[in-house]
Symmetry: C2
Subunit: 332 residues, 2 copies
Amino acid sequence: MITLREIAAAAGYSIAVVSRVLSPCPHEGARVAEKTREHIRAVALQLGYRPNRAAEFLKRGGSPVIGVYVPDSAGAQPGELVKGICLEAGLNSFPLAFFYDATIDGFQRFILETINFRNSGVIAFPAFQFDERIAELVGMYCGNGGRMVMINNLERCAAAGLVAVDVDDFSGGAMVAERLLVRGSRRFLTISNQMFPARHEGFCRKIEAAGKKPEVIAPVKEFNAERIVAMLLSMHQNKSNLPLGIFAGADPEAVEIITMLAKCNVKIGRDILIAGYGDQYLAAHVHPGLTTVAQPFMTAGRNALNKLSAMIYGKEAESEKLMPELIIRGSA
Amino acid sequence: MITLREIAAAAGYSIAVVSRVLSPCPHEGARVAEKTREHIRAVALQLGYRPNRAAEFLKRGGSPVIGVYVPDSAGAQPGELVKGICLEAGLNSFPLAFFYDATIDGFQRFILETINFRNSGVIAFPAFQFDERIAELVGMYCGNGGRMVMINNLERCAAAGLVAVDVDDFSGGAMVAERLLVRGSRRFLTISNQMFPARHEGFCRKIEAAGKKPEVIAPVKEFNAERIVAMLLSMHQNKSNLPLGIFAGADPEAVEIITMLAKCNVKIGRDILIAGYGDQYLAAHVHPGLTTVAQPFMTAGRNALNKLSAMIYGKEAESEKLMPELIIRGSA
DNA sequence: AAAGCATGAGAAAACGTTTGTTTTTATGCA
DNA sequence: TGCATAAAAACAAACGTTTTCTCATGCTTT
């Protein structure tokens, strides 16, 4: 492999000049004659020079490496997040290191290994509770010169003095409520989900603010599509209930209900309104299309990377709460 | 940050011994007394030593970095692949660098940057055609000491002398055909898809081998669910056609057809059989559940990483074609 | 008792950059 | 011409490891 030394020899200059010409970010006041620049660049190109990042990072005292910790869970969210981070990182040519796991031990290994790269940053999307052990690891990481941006958990992060990029589930729930209100729903049914209490809260507060009363038909743990469909059909008997407004809390439950109701001779999207949450891949392809809430996880990834980049380069960064988007389709 | 020098000073030994104790993979014949080992380890732990990877990689002549090139496309496949790679890499503590893009220029930048890390490996899942320009870049990468494992395109890769991990679309299509045959379908309808010709081939060959004739109802480009549903309903009039067997080529089209048919008073899964391909996230949640083909992209990721790891450590690795799995649900 | 041989530890030279300091060369001005 | 000054280039010391070679010690063997 070609090194600066060989280019220097071939071009008839010292290593120092060659470095100043070829370095990706040379220190200020590195003055090299334009003519020399061109010559050295030409020689480097001709010899097929590729800089040795390990050497550069060693000398510079660290690589601007960004570690990404993603939970090993299903659904499209981690994928979108990762994509956003990668797209933005590609623009900034940051090296990235990824780690999928769902355990605290995995998080610890990840943090320790990331420290080994010095001058690093971490984007963490932990699937587990932000508890004391996590706080301790985060503290250790930051104490060793690391910077961290968290995904979700904004309030908890703010308390711990951490920057976070969050997606506003409360507003998302409220958007669904608003849609069902606008469409004139008479009764408001919802499936509560322990995993995402904010969606539920946002939904219920909005319904209540309109002077109506949300009804929790079941917690998602006991979700049983047949039972719920039967319940809906019996409510459907009474015209004064229509249109029924159902917030399923998440797309899978909404799809189950819609597709089971489809054969029951009810007008979905008119007499029965159903909304999900998440805008998963196939949500647009059921009939009627599922009205749902799209979460900007790709944007979250991009923004998280930009914040981290700013922090690595010594600037300040602030937490951010991203607005989800209501996707209106035929089901509501 | 603590360095070997400081540990050496604190422990009362030379840097060399400390390195031999703490190095992640010390050269053979590095003999250190057990007592010394323990002492040095204790001191390192107490001082909170973290090895400097940049220095290690510089000295070792390269980092075993693995770059992953993923197409910037929708769907769950890249996500599953990435997850598999990450999980396996976590076990082997490989640093990973990711790059999402869909352009050849992006691929070129990716290849060049990966060379900069020396001693590297690449897992590439290119979304574009494997053409001459790609072959040239791959050649340049391997010429510079890189190793590459490709995802998909096994035949093309074999011709170019590259290792690939492929998923057997032909067999997947055949599995669908077999299922429809077993269920006694009288007519076999399929939607052809330019993107995945092998699925279609596998399906048709199997149907023909059974002495039946597959009918292509439309290319996916002109897919129109309403038109197809109308066509199915008219075929449905004639009892001698039943059960109809439909291979939609991909999940979205299958879901559209199923959910539109649901309100038409036909027995899906009995008189009309429908299968998709891909087992996307919501496929299990429509009613009836979508019979489809699950692609082992997570396994592909794991295996690709293991092969690459072997190659980096000087062993041989061979291409592999993974079998997809037919997921039988209510729709067929 | 002398020589041979493991074994454990240290000295020092790298690896390929970056960068502060010093030296050389070119330029401007009296 | 001579001197001050600025610009361009060279020198050399790092950065934190790994690893070859050398050396000292204690043990076994003739």
